[in-house]
Symmetry: D2
Subunit: 227 residues, 4 copies
């Protein structure tokens, strides 16, 4: 029987960046496992349909994945739920939905995976942030509050699990990711978008940083994006 | 019939800083109205028992207060729900409770008060942050994520309502506030704590900044507090 | 013989904000002492012509002022030297001039005044920052690098002299100050500028914060200024 | 005649990290060119003795290097001049020396190299920051003010030359770099230091980021370093 490949677990893998992340890690010899609310047409590796914010089902599904594949070496939290609306038209459901899908999902993902990673000798937990992680703009009250919360959570995890060998990193994606959906929504020139495979390459690099040099936060944006 | 006093509305007025804020504004000629889950023994001005995170009751109670007192001139969000626990022992209820009591309550408070303030010509909305608004420490995952979220929300409100004349400010309270409860909990020398009346004085100053010079964020800490 | 008034020492008092600061503190019972490279027409209080970045003359002049007036209670560093130019057209003299006038001057001012303040029981040292203290924009390489440097210096002073009772605060002035010179240079509506007297009021408040609640950084901007 | 290798130019290459950077880029097919005030024993590639803060000699030396090697593809500014001293014992020479060696040297380096990089189609300019780039600690007034200044300068360059295809990045090195000198100075366990080769790997990655995903700031610290 052969040696088991290290697993990468990507939450928010229903499309775009999530699939590119799985693909990059598969190329590097990882067992790619995607999680999402709906499966893409031709998923890279395993795909598990799961609402990660659902506390009644997500922990069991994650436990089963780990039982079958072993502990993950790399976990990536990449869910997003964008709401752009004037404050007076942003209702509590908008806040809860953004918070559930980006913060509660990260809590459940971390609680299911970090201890197994520690027990297996360490690993990486990478979280996708956004411009709104650092700046609450007008009409972004729901999205920014959830992305700020996710950054606070990520920092707390980074500091708590640093001594145990788990590298937690917050990547600020400051630009529009070039996906089929983004091309349909935006009139932006695709050469001014972020290429998913390029983002994936950076995540691959972060996941492989030695203990001597861990990055806890970095930004990524197209050369064409003002900042 | 006399001229109605301007109203200050303080959420989180069950004790300590909340009462000192009401007292400072009462001294300055304001009608003090406190909100909280439980009434203090001898409240300054009106006190309304309300769970501000409860969407079924809070909006009605706030609407009634405004109907009776007129629109607030100054609104202060000062609720806190501290959780300090290792991540693995912080459960979803802890995250929800901190988020509800500090973020959802701010959303409901702002949605009930900002439009009336705008219609009345403007006002101030001041939010109490903490050290954990800027830094997610180990064991602070729930508290920091909620305080980060509150800061993101506050920034978004500040930018959205700046043109309409509502001054939204985030005050970072970096220290232990000197209250009866804090003295019981901490062995800290009270001269190294923050005096509630001193914090209240700063909030009073912020609430009275002219449009030429608005502060959107400031920190406050004892001279003895390292930072 | 009467009691000596506490002295406020304002560097960068040749015009505009500097004079308003002196005026506000004079109204509050302080002995106002201005410093600058050229005297205004009708200075508030004493005015000493001095190039604060000149190490051969500034220390002596400051020592003489203190010998005559006693130690300052409040010191304000408010010098500015704006350079806006493409990087390739910004020469070393531009960097040195901005650095000398904003950083070296602050070093010399602090070295002459902080120990006398400590010996007299404490005091406040307030530094005027700008938008460029936090963000290095294109064409602002000289100005931003000097304003960043001044912020780093100010933080270091704040932490070093906090235990000795000297309150060091960095105020970020994010807007155009309404002065005769600004009106001549900018087509901006004066109601969208910062009123010097309003800034002075905030500095007065900072200088009088009790030890229980010191602000180490705050921003000030017109309600009309996007941020 | 063969194709010329792309040049990497490393300022502050007299030892430690500088040499490791040259080595990493040499391994990747670059022509390594080191600059420093004193040559190491067995330099990797070319080494030019130069005081980069000296405006009378540095521009000529840099121009000559470019004339001989072609424009650099990658430029790394890695000079450091550490001063740790109480403020009252930090004299103007300390401020000037730290500023000259870290800020003026970066200005001269950028003014000599950025236009040639633009003319050749772009390149990368990476600057080494430190913990003190973000926080001015007690006794670090000279070092922090210079490192803050360098960060402001770097941001300004990043924004100005982004449209022209030059990627300017600020890397915050938050830890002690494992060098012979550091081992002699610190009693710290070398496994808790940053390995120069590991830092060099990250700089290599930054220098090769595609235009779709540029990092403008990141931190690097040992897993054992609190933050």
């Amino acid at each position: 029987m052969g040696v088991q490949k290290p697993m990468v677990l990507v939450a928010g893998a229903g499309a775009g960046l999530g699939q590119s992340l799985l693909s990059r890690f598969a190329d590097g010899g990882f067992e790619p496992v995607g999680l999402g609310r709906s499966a893409p047409d031709a998923p890279v590796g395993q795909f598990h349909t799961v609402d990660l914010s659902d506390e009644t089902s997500a922990p069991d599904i994650l436990a089963k994945i780990i039982a079958e594949n072993g502990p993950p070496r790399v976990v990536i939290h990449n869910t997003a739920e964008l709401v752009i609306a004037p404050f007076m038209q942003t209702d509590l459901d908008d806040y809860r939905r953004t918070w559930d899908s980006m913060v509660q999902s990260a809590v459940l993902l971390a609680q299911a995976t970090i201890q197994p990673m520690i027990d297996a000798g360490g690993g990486s937990f990478i979280v996708s942030g956004a411009t709104a992680s650092l700046r609450g703009g007008a009409k972004f009250s729901a999205f920014a509050s959830a992305k700020f919360a996710l950054r606070g959570l990520t920092q707390s995890l980074a500091r708590e699990f640093q001594p145990a060998g788990v590298h937690v990193c917050h990547a600020i994606l400051d630009g529009i990711i070039d996906t089929a959906r983004a091309r349909a929504l935006h009139s932006l020139d695709p050469t001014k978008m972020m290429t998913p495979a390029d983002i994936a390459e950076t995540y691959w690099q972060i996941a492989h940083q030695p203990k001597s040099t861990w990055t806890h936060e970095l930004d990524l944006r197209p050369a064409s994006e003002g900042f």
